[in-house]
C-alpha cells in the first residue's frame, strides 16, 4: 500500500526544479569560493618567482614554505620570515584573548541586566542601538577616529592634553602594552554590542517559568544567574566563543590601520592576517608578491582555527546531550534490527 503511494509521489516530484534553482549558487560558489580555496593550498607549495621581473617562474618546492615559516633556515631571509611569523602568531593570540574576555564579561552583564524583569531598565531600545552602533561604523573610520584620540601623533587628543599639563608627549604606538591595549579596547568596543544582542536572545530563549519558580522559591539574583541563566546559556556562549575565535584569529583591520607614519606597522601589532597580506603584496616597487609564503601562512592559520574550533566545541558539548544521542542511535539500531527480523517472519 505504502509502496504505491510512494511511487506516485515520486512521479510528480518537484525536487529537480529545486536543484535547478539552487544550482546557480553552487556553480558560482565553486568558481569563486571553492577554487580559490583549493588554489591557496596549491600555491602554498610553490615558490615566489615573478616572471614579470625576469626571475624564474613559480617552481614547486613542496613543504619548503611551511618549513621556513615554522623553523626558519640558514639565511637571513628565512630566519626573518620565521621570526615575524611566530611573533605575529603570538600577537594574534594576545590580541584575541585580550579582547574576548572583557567583551564576553561586559556583554553578559549587560544582557542579564537588560533581560531582568525585576530591574525594568527604561530606554532599553536606545541603549541597545547605542551599544551596537560601533559595529556599524567601518573599521577604517574607527581606526581614523582612534588615531586622532590616542596615537604617536603629537597632535592627537591624548598627547595634546599631556603636553598642556606639562608632560612629554607619549608615542602610544611604540609601547607594546599601550598599543595592544588600545587595539583590544577598540575590538571590545566594536563587538560587545553584537555579543550582547546574542546573549540577550539566548537568555530570552530560556523558559520564563524557570525564573518564576526560582523567584517564588526565594532565590537570590546571584543564584538565578549561577544556577539557571549561565548553565542554560552555555550553547550560546560556546557559539560566541567559536565565532569570536575564528574572527579573532583572522583579526586584520584595526592592527593593520593603527599607525601614524605610512607603512609603519608595528611588530607587536602584526597579526597573522596582516603578515599574510604583507607577504601577498610585498616586493620592490612593482609587485613581486610572495604567494607561496602567504599561502602557507593562510593554510596554517586555517588548520589552527579548525583544530581550536573542534577542541572548544568538544570541550563544551553538553555531556548529557551526547549520551542521549548515543542512546538514541542505539535504540534506532535495535528497532531496525527487530524490523528486519519481523520481515523475515521471525519474532511475533
Amino acid at each position: 500500500m505504502a509502496s504505491t503511494a510512494q511511487s506516485r509521489i515520486k512521479s510528480i516530484s518537484y525536487a529537480k526544479y529545486g536543484y535547478m534553482f539552487i544550482a546557480p549558487f553552487f556553480i558560482v560558489y565553486a568558481f569563486f569560493q571553492i577554487w580559490p580555496l583549493i588554489n591557496t593550498f596549491i600555491l602554498s607549495f610553490f615558490g615566489n618567482g615573478d616572471a614579470a621581473f625576469g626571475a624564474e617562474a613559480q617552481e614547486f618546492m613542496a613543504l619548503d614554505n611551511y618549513k621556513t615559516l615554522l623553523f626558519g633556515g640558514d639565511d637571513r631571509r628565512s630566519n626573518a620570515l620565521h621570526d615575524t611569523f611566530v611573533q605575529s602568531f603570538i600577537n594574534t593570540v594576545i590580541l584575541w584573548v585580550g579582547n574576548f574576555i572583557p567583551q564576553i564579561a561586559l556583554s553578559l552583564l549587560l544582557a542579564v541586566w537588560f533581560t531582568d524583569s525585576k530591574l525594568h531598565i527604561p530606554g532599553q531600545g536606545a541603549f541597545k542601538v547605542i551599544m551596537y552602533l560601533p559595529n556599524i561604523i567601518t573599521a577604517v573610520s574607527v581606526a581614523a577616529l582612534f588615531m586622532r584620540f590616542i596615537s604617536n601623533s603629537q597632535t592627537s587628543a591624548a598627547n595634546i592634553i599631556l603636553q598642556n599639563m606639562g608632560n612629554e608627549a607619549i608615542k602610544f604606538e611604540n609601547d607594546p602594552a599601550w598599543s595592544r591595549g588600545i587595539v583590544m579596547f577598540i575590538q571590545t568596543w566594536m563587538w560587545f554590542g553584537n555579543t550582547m544582542i546574542m546573549m540577550m536572545s539566548g537568555i530570552l530563549g530560556i523558559n520564563p517559568s524557570l525564573f518564576e519558580a526560582a523567584n517564588i522559591d526565594g532565590a537570590s539574583s546571584g543564584q538565578v544567574l549561577g544556577k539557571i541563566t549561565l548553565p542554560l546559556l552555555k550553547p550560546m556562549v560556546v557559539y560566541t566563543l567559536i565565532t569570536s575565535m575564528i574572527g579573532g584569529l583572522q583579526m586584520f583591520d584595526i592592527p593593520f590601520l593603527y599607525h601614524t607614519a605610512a607603512g609603519d606597522i608595528k611588530d607587536h601589532l602584526r597579526t597573522v592576517a596582516v603578515f599574510i597580506y604583507e607577504q601577498f603584496r610585498v616586493g620592490n616597487n612593482v609587485h613581486s608578491p610572495q604567494y607561496g609564503v602567504a599561502g602557507a601562512a593562510s593554510i596554517m592559520l586555517f588548520f589552527v582555527t579548525a583544530i581550536l574550533g573542534i577542541f572548544v566545541f568538544r570541550m563544551n558539548r553538553d555531556q548529557d546531550e551526547a549520551r542521549k544521542k548515543a542512546e538514541r542511535k542505539a535504540l534506532v539500531k535495535e528497532y531496525k534490527k527487530q524490523q528486519k527480523l519481523a520481515k523475515k517472519g521471525g519474532l511475533e
Binding site: 526544479y17 546557480p24 615573478d50 639565511d75 631571509r77 626573518a80 597632535t155 608627549a169 608615542k171 605610512a262
Partner: protein, 501 residues
C-alpha cells in the same frame, strides 16, 4: 502549465548564472573594444603624423622644416609603435600641483587644447603612490603618461610591460644636450633605452626660520647661516645653541627622514645593492655613522620627534599651535619650495595665526644633496603618442616653454641654459622665502647631483631604514647592532629578488 513552469525555472536559473559571470565577461569586451580602437587608430596614424609637425611649426617659429631639424626644435614624429587618436592625454600622478602649471605651459608651447590634458591622481605620496599605480595599470585604465618618483622610476623603466621607449613618441636623447647630466642616465632602462625624462632637478637645501635664527643665533643673512651649518659638525653645534636658547623647544632638524635624505644623498658613495646582494660590509659603508649621529642628536633633542608626511611634520614650521616653533628649519628639495608645496604648508596661510609666511630663507646646508625628482614615462598602451611627445618635449626639452614654467612655478628645471639665464636675470623671487632667489642658492648643489649609485630598491631601503632608526631613537630597539640587524631583516623580507647577507 508544467512546461511553462519548467521554462520559467530554467530561465531564472540561467539569468542568475549569467549575472554572476558578468564580472568575467566585462574585461573581454573592453579589451576587444580597445583592440578595434587600436586598429582604427593605426589607420589614422599617417594622417595625424603629417598634421603634427604643421601644428608645431605654426607655433614655433624656428622650426621651419619637419625633417632633419625636427629633432632639435620639436618632438620627432612617433615611430608608429604606439597608439594614436585618443580623446584625452591622461597623466597618472600623485599630486596635481605641478600639472596645473604645466597645462598652461604645454598649451602655449604646442597649441594643444588645455581641455585635452587630464590627470588621474592616485592621491598618495611616495611609496604608496607606487602601489596605487600598479592597481591602475592592472585595471587597464587609460594612461598615456605617468609620473615616476626617482626612488622607484627604475622599476617601471626596467619593465617593458609598463613603460615604452620614448622613441615611440618622437623623443630622443640628443634633445637633452642642455639637460643636467644625471637626468638622462636615470631615464634609461637596464639596456640603455631612454624610457623617461624629467623636467626638474631636485637639489636639496635647508630652509630655516629667519626670525628664530636672529633670535637664537644672531644671524641675519643666509651667508652667515650657511657658514654656521657648513658641515655636519657645525650643524649639530649650532643645533645645541638653538636648543639651549629656545629652552628645549626648537630642534634644528625637522625630522629623522630629512636628516637621512640629506646624509644619504650627500654622503653615501656606494650603491646599496650590488649584483643583487646587500652585504654586511656594504650596508655598513652605506650607513656611515648615520645611526650613531641620529641617535645622539635625537636624544639630545636636536632632531624633532615628528615623522615626515605625518600631520605632525609641517605644522612645526609655524609659530603657533601645538607644534609651534618645534623646528628651526626643514630639509627641503627644490620641489618643496614652490607655491602650493611643502614650504607653503609649513608656513601656513599668510595672515592667519601663527603663520610664518615669508619668514624662511634657504641655504645649501651641511652637505650638497638632492631628493628625488620626477621622471615622466610613456605607457605602452597609450593612445596619444603625438600628444604625449609634444607634452614631453615642451616640458623637458623646449627651452622657451621651460623658461615659462620657471617663471610661473619657480621650479628648478632640467635645462642648464634656462637656469643660467634665470639666475643671471635675477627675476626669480620667491615670496615664501621673503623674496630670496632659491634657484641661485641651490644651483651649485644641482650641478653636483649624482645619481649613478641609485638602484630601483632605494625606496624600500629608505623606508625600512627609517623605521628601524626611528625605533632605535625612540628606544624600542636597544642597540645600534640590533637596529642594523632589524633593518637588514626587514629588507630581506621585503626585497624578494635581492639577497641580504
Amino acid at each position: 502549465m508544467n512546461n511553462l513552469k519548467k521554462t520559467l525555472a530554467l530561465m531564472a536559473a540561467l539569468a542568475m548564472t549569467a549575472t554572476a559571470f558578468v564580472g568575467c565577461g566585462d574585461d573581454k569586451t573592453s579589451t576587444s573594444e580597445s583592440a578595434t580602437e587600436a586598429t582604427t587608430v593605426a589607420e589614422e596614424t599617417t594622417e595625424e603624423a603629417t598634421d603634427a609637425p604643421e601644428n608645431e611649426s605654426s607655433d614655433d617659429e624656428t622650426s621651419a622644416d619637419d625633417g632633419a631639424a625636427a629633432s632639435t626644435d620639436g618632438p620627432g614624429t612617433p615611430d608608429g609603435t604606439l597608439g594614436e587618436g585618443g580623446d584625452a592625454l591622461t597623466i597618472l600622478c600623485w599630486t596635481e600641483d605641478d600639472l596645473s602649471y604645466m597645462y598652461d605651459v604645454v598649451a602655449n608651447a604646442t597649441g594643444m587644447d588645455k581641455a585635452m590634458m587630464v590627470y588621474k591622481n592616485v592621491g598618495a605620496n611616495g611609496t604608496e603612490a607606487n602601489e596605487k599605480y600598479a592597481q591602475v595599470f592592472a585595471a587597464d585604465e587609460d594612461v598615456d603618461l605617468f609620473f615616476c618618483d626617482a626612488d622607484w622610476n627604475m622599476a617601471y623603466q626596467n619593465n617593458d610591460e609598463y613603460s615604452a621607449p620614448l622613441s615611440g613618441v618622437g623623443i630622443t636623447e640628443d634633445m637633452y644636450a642642455d639637460a643636467y647630466d644625471y637626468t638622462v642616465p636615470m631615464g634609461k632602462d637596464a639596456n640603455g633605452v631612454l624610457k623617461g625624462v624629467t623636467w626638474q632637478v631636485a637639489a636639496g637645501g635647508y630652509a630655516y626660520r629667519t626670525d628664530l635664527a636672529e633670535q637664537y643665533l644672531g644671524i641675519t643673512t643666509p651667508e652667515d647661516m650657511q657658514a654656521a651649518i657648513s658641515d655636519w659638525d657645525a650643524f649639530w653645534a649650532t643645533a645645541a645653541t638653538v636648543y639651549e636658547k629656545s629652552e628645549g623647544v626648537t630642534a634644528m632638524a625637522d625630522s629623522l627622514g630629512g636628516v637621512w635624505r640629506a646624509y644619504s644623498n650627500g654622503n653615501r658613495t656606494s650603491a646599496w645593492v650590488q649584483d643583487g646582494v646587500i652585504t654586511a660590509d656594504n650596508s655598513k659603508a652605506c650607513l656611515g655613522d648615520f645611526i650613531n649621529m641620529a641617535k645622539t642628536n635625537y636624544d639630545a633633542g636636536y632632531i624633532s620627534t615628528a615623522s615626515q608626511w605625518t600631520d605632525d611634520w609641517l605644522p612645526q614650521g609655524m609659530s603657533a599651535g601645538t607644534q609651534a616653533n618645534k623646528t628651526m628649519g626643514f630639509f627641503f628639495p627644490t620641489w618643496s619650495l614652490g607655491a602650493g608645496s611643502q614650504l607653503s604648508k609649513a608656513e601656513g596661510e599668510e595672515g592667519t595665526e601663527g603663520s610664518t609666511y615669508g619668514l624662511y630663507n634657504v641655504v645649501a646646508g651641511p652637505t650638497g644633496w638632492f631628493w628625488g625628482g620626477t621622471w615622466i614615462c610613456v605607457s605602452p598602451k597609450t593612445d596619444n603618442a603625438t600628444e604625449a611627445g609634444q607634452f614631453l618635449y615642451a616640458m623637458t626639452a623646449d627651452a622657451e616653454a621651460m623658461q615659462a614654467y620657471v617663471d610661473a612655478k619657480g621650479d628648478f628645471v632640467n635645462n642648464k641654459t634656462v637656469m643660467a639665464n634665470t639666475i643671471a636675470a635675477g627675476t626669480n623671487s620667491n615670496p615664501l622665502l621673503g623674496g630670496q632667489d632659491h634657484l641661485a642658492t641651490l644651483a651649485d648643489s644641482a650641478a653636483k647631483v649624482d645619481m649613478s649609485i641609485a638602484t630601483q630598491y632605494d625606496t624600500t631601503i629608505n623606508a625600512e631604514l627609517l623605521k628601524a632608526v626611528q625605533a632605535y631613537c625612540e628606544g624600542t630597539i636597544a642597540s645600534e647592532d640590533d637596529c642594523v640587524n632589524e633593518f637588514l631583516n626587514k629588507l630581506s623580507e621585503s626585497l624578494t629578488d635581492v639577497t641580504v647577507e
